[in-house]
Symmetry: C2
Subunit: 113 residues, 2 copies
């Protein structure tokens, strides 16, 4: 597994600039979705798995490990997974994405049927 940590050479960036490392981390399968699904609070690993359309536990565990190492997600006994304050800040930047997606859907379907 490749960890994405800033200021190092990471997958997807020769420079290791923070934003490149972040784009790489968030560009892995289910990463954005996992953060999205944690928007309302704690979820156990199995609840999270179900929320993500029964994603394979292999990939889910990989993503959770990476996102935890990146300090965006936390895991607590008897509670499950949740966003850290930093992860919450990241999600807050993505929340308007929902409204955008609705407009995107309308325009795309209008043009392409």
């Amino acid at each position: 597994m490749v960890e994405a940590r800033p200021r190092r050479t990471v997958r997807g960036s020769r420079t290791g600039r923070p934003v490149m490392a972040l784009l790489d981390l968030l560009g892995r399968r289910w990463a954005l979705r996992v953060i999205w699904e944690l928007r309302d609070g704690w979820l156990t690993s199995r609840q999270l798995r179900e929320a993500c359309d029964d994603v394979s536990p292999t990939v889910l565990q990989s993503r959770m490990s990476e996102l935890r190492a990146a300090g965006l997600i936390t895991l607590e006994h008897r509670h499950g997974y949740a966003l850290t304050p930093l992860g919450r800040e990241l999600l807050d930047q993505f929340l308007p994405l929902n409204a955008f997606a609705e407009r995107w859907a309308a325009e795309t379907l209008a043009e392409q049927g």
Copy 2:
């Protein structure tokens, strides 16, 4: 190749809700990065390839086809690729990500060495 279009069952979403389709589309390798690299204007396919750390042309072409089908990116003869107005709106939501990435880098490195 799987197209990501809203209100259909797409890869990564059984419901086909627009935001899920969008998260799936943006969660594919190099998708976020490509949009990011087009922030300053037109780039030819080879300039774009170079900007993305010499990404394999196979994947790049896949992403460009998908993003064009999604109406986020356009291709014009003798100019190359650029964001559509809709794609520009999407990027504008991601631009603050740069500042966030810098803080993320600082905090992550401070905690984990």
